[in-house]
């Protein structure tokens, strides 16, 4: 509970009120002063001073000086008049309360207004600063533009001059003879007149004249008459051919178009696959040397397939796979055998395995991938799984859109899919 501070002294003039509040030992720095037009409150813990002023004051211009153990207020009166007393006496509690609240509200409004005004002022300053910098930059830019323009004009003038020179040189070229003769006749006349007075000079004069005429023509004529050179030209070269080789690349696409990373990966994979040998088979020792080579076995399988010996081909491929399970072509070809043998599930398995091994998809393994998709698609269709079959055919078409057979087969499958739906 704060202690009301009752002791205060004041005096007034017509325009101001001087109020002095003693701070009895309280710390002046902790003084909290709240002032509005009619209301003054000072809180200096533990003291509290409150006054409802007799008349309105201009609180923005009023001051408070804190020091020397008291607070000295200089309150400017709004209306110059003598006050009967500092505070409004006979004020009821409610009125006091009301006035207090009013004062607080007013103070808040004022604070708000002040911040608003500050903001606006700041914005104005910013704008101004921005405009000023923009002007400076504009000026700089204009200066550079002007310099450039001047340069342009200068250069254009020079160009015109040069052009005219060219024109003149051109004209001069077409009438060299006339000019020459003209030059010669005039000095001759001079020579004749000079003859009686000086005898040696005419000779010099003529030689000079001749020099002049050749010099005058030299600038333009010599470059226009390289006829002398024509006689010195060598005969056409003896015809010959030079054969060239071009730098090879595995994939004949320019660096920009090739998918180098993927292609390298594919090549690497192929190389790796070639080197794998599954050596943990005890039966291997029984095999002949050539039978241990997956490629030889693959060729054998191919030959048997061609002759119609599908079981034999499958055996050959099986052995090859046991030796090296990373060669996609083995699975591909075995899938073809299984199709012929109507081992449809096995055909699907093998085609899938082959397609798995044929990643990443690059132009080099396009053919193999097409075959893989077609064989798997065929197997699906023969199992009456037409939707899956169509998927594979469409994948094949995507790789090789120009293949008519695949297109026809895909169409057939589509019809097959639609027919049962229509009938049911």
């Amino acid at each position: 509970m704060p202690v009301w501070l009752r002791e205060h002294s004041w005096r007034q003039t017509l325009t101001a009120v001087y109020l002095s509040l003693p701070l009895r030992g309280a710390r002046a720095t902790a003084a909290d002063i709240f002032c509005s037009e009619r209301y003054l409150k000072v809180s200096v813990p533990p003291f509290l001073f409150e006054a409802i002023l007799y008349a309105a004051i201009d609180d923005t211009n009023s001051t408070a000086k804190i020091g020397n153990g008291n607070i000295f207020f200089t309150l400017c009166k709004k209306e110059p008049a003598m006050w009967d007393s500092l505070t409004l006496g006979n004020a009821g509690k409610e009125k006091l309360q009301y006035l207090r609240e009013n004062a607080v509200l007013k103070a808040q409004e004022k604070a708000k207004e002040e911040t608003e005004a500050k903001k606006l002022a700041k914005q104005e300053h910013k704008k101004y600063a921005l405009e000023a910098t923009m002007k400076l930059e504009e000026a700089e830019r204009k200066r550079i533009e002007d310099l450039k323009e001047k340069e342009r004009e200068k250069v254009t003038k020079e160009l015109e001059l040069w052009k005219n020179q060219q024109k003149d040189a051109y004209k001069y070229k077409s009438v060299p003879k006339k000019g020459e003769s003209h030059q010669e006749t005039e000095p001759l006349k001079e020579r004749k007149t000079k003859k009686p007075t000086k005898t040696r000079i005419p000779d010099e004069g003529t030689s000079k004249i001749r020099l002049k005429s050749t010099k005058g023509c030299h600038g333009s004529c010599s470059i226009f008459s390289p006829n002398l050179k024509a006689e010195q030209l060598p005969a056409p070269r003896a015809a010959a051919t030079i054969r060239v080789n071009f730098t090879p690349r595995v994939f004949p696409t320019a660096l920009r178009e090739s998918r180098v990373a993927e292609e390298e990966e594919w090549l690497h994979k192929q190389a790796e696959a070639q080197r794998i040998i599954n050596s943990d088979l005890s039966e291997l020792e029984d095999l002949k040397e050539e039978e241990k080579n997956p490629d030889w076995l693959k060729d054998k399988g191919n030959r048997m397939f061609a002759m119609g010996n599908y079981l034999g081909a499958v055996n050959a491929y099986n052995l090859a796979v046991r030796l090296n399970d990373k060669l996609p072509l083995l699975y591909l070809n075995r899938a073809a055998c299984h199709l012929k043998l109507r081992n449809l599930h096995k055909a699907i398995e093998d085609s899938s395995k082959a397609l798995e091994l044929l990643t990443p998809p690059v132009p080099d393994n396009e053919n193999a991938r097409v075959k893989g998709h077609v064989r798997r698609g065929t197997a699906f269709c023969q199992l009456e799984l037409y939707a899956e079959g169509l998927q594979d055919y469409e994948a094949a078409l995507k790789i090789d859109p120009k293949n008519k057979n695949i297109e026809k087969d895909a169409e057939k499958i589509r019809h097959l899919i639609q027919e049962p739906m229509q009938s049911s």
């Binding site: 550079i144 310099l147 160009l159 060219q166 056409p236 015809a239 060239v244 730098t247 320019a254």
Partner: protein, 359 residues
């Protein structure tokens, strides 16, 4: 720093001309303020337009239409008196035209089975010595050298070995023509091969591969002992080879620079200063470069053979003129800094590069 920037050469755009056809090549007519635009009209015919520079605009003096679209042209092998234009077209025909009477070509041969991508001429215009010759490089994988005095058969034919799959030849250039006998042809292919053919010994003198397709090759000067060769490629890279010292195994030393992300379509050296060159890019930009020589141009390797030392390249200026590739570029041989470029936005632009004297 902006002011310092102004001390560098500036590329000033002088004139812009919209064309109603695709322009593939543009060339200044020597000793004049005229230029030629070569290309393909919408209806599939070839067009040659002759313009003259008048102040701030181009005046069309003449338009010549030919049955096949024209890909490239050169004045390199013609005399200054005649100024005949040699062209390569989409059908593989090499023709030489007298622009005063263009109805019938002065020389014509069906040199290649497919489009002639690039053409160069040497021995004309009073520059250098030796016979006038034209070289053409085609998509059929061959590079052929022609002498206008010999009909029908080329004087040199660089073709793939029997059975070898062909690669498109995208660019050709003459060089080393410093006397009557010496001459080399440099050819760039779409697989990144660069081959140097010696016409005196009729042999392959050097080859290398820069991994990306070679769009343009040019020697800094055709008529001197070969000094530098610039090769530009796809993916924004170009290589500058020092051609003065050939190592028996390592070939020529080079420095490479990646200028931008897109293809560098053309490189052209300034005729008046062989160490300055401009590259044009697929993003519609032009870059002006200067080559700086190293302190010593050659050194001995561990076995005692001479090998070249490449210098460095510094960018003088760059400017973006268009959104489409600038496919052709030509400096005027008569006015330093004046150049013409043609872009795939069907516009030909005349540019002036300033302050080249101060380099």
């Amino acid at each position: 720093s902006a002011a310092a920037g102004l001390e560098r050469p500036q590329v000033v755009s002088h004139v812009q001309q919209a064309l109603s056809y695709t322009v593939f090549d543009c060339k200044w007519v020597p000793r004049s303020a005229r230029l030629l635009c070569l290309g393909s009209a919408a209806r599939g015919t070839g067009l040659v337009q002759l313009y003259e520079l008048h102040g701030a605009r181009l005046e069309l003096l003449r338009e010549i239409e030919k049955p096949k679209p024209i890909k490239c042209g050169t004045f390199g092998a013609t005399s200054l008196q005649h100024r005949y234009l040699a062209t390569g077209d989409f059908d593989g025909n090499l023709n030489i035209w007298n622009l005063e009477a263009p109805e019938i070509p002065v020389y014509s041969v069906k040199g290649h089975k497919e489009i002639i991508n690039s053409i160069d001429g040497v021995g004309g215009l009073g520059i250098g010595e030796g016979a006038p010759e034209i070289v053409t490089g085609s998509r059929d994988g061959t590079v052929k050298v022609w002498d206008p005095r010999q009909n029908d058969t080329p004087v040199a034919n660089m073709e793939p070995v029997q059975g070898e799959s062909k690669r498109d030849c995208w660019t050709v250039a003459f060089g080393n023509a410093y006397n009557q006998e010496e001459r080399v042809v440099c050819a760039g292919y779409d697989n990144g091969d660069i081959k140097l053919f010696d016409l005196k010994t009729m042999s392959l003198r050097w080859e290398t591969n820069i991994k990306n397709g070679v769009c343009s090759v040019e020697f800094d000067r055709k008529d001197i002992n070969m000094n530098k060769l610039v090769a530009t490629s796809l993916e924004g890279k170009f290589h500058v080879f020092d051609m003065r010292t050939q190592h028996p195994t390592k070939g020529f030393a080079s420095v490479s620079e990646k200028a931008q992300k897109s293809t560098i379509w053309q490189v052209r050296h300034l005729p008046q200063n062989r160490d300055i060159f401009m590259t044009s890019g697929g993003s519609g930009s032009l870059h002006l470069w200067k080559y700086e020589y190293p302190a010593l141009r050659s050194k001995k390797d561990s076995e005692g053979s001479e090998m070249g030392v490449a210098g460095s390249v510094c960018l003088l200026q760059n400017v973006t003129l268009s959104t489409q590739p600038i496919s052709s570029l030509d400096w005027s041989p008569d006015k330093k800094g004046l150049c013409v470029c043609g872009a795939f936005d069907q516009t030909v632009r005349i540019l002036i590069v300033t302050k080249l004297n101060k380099i």
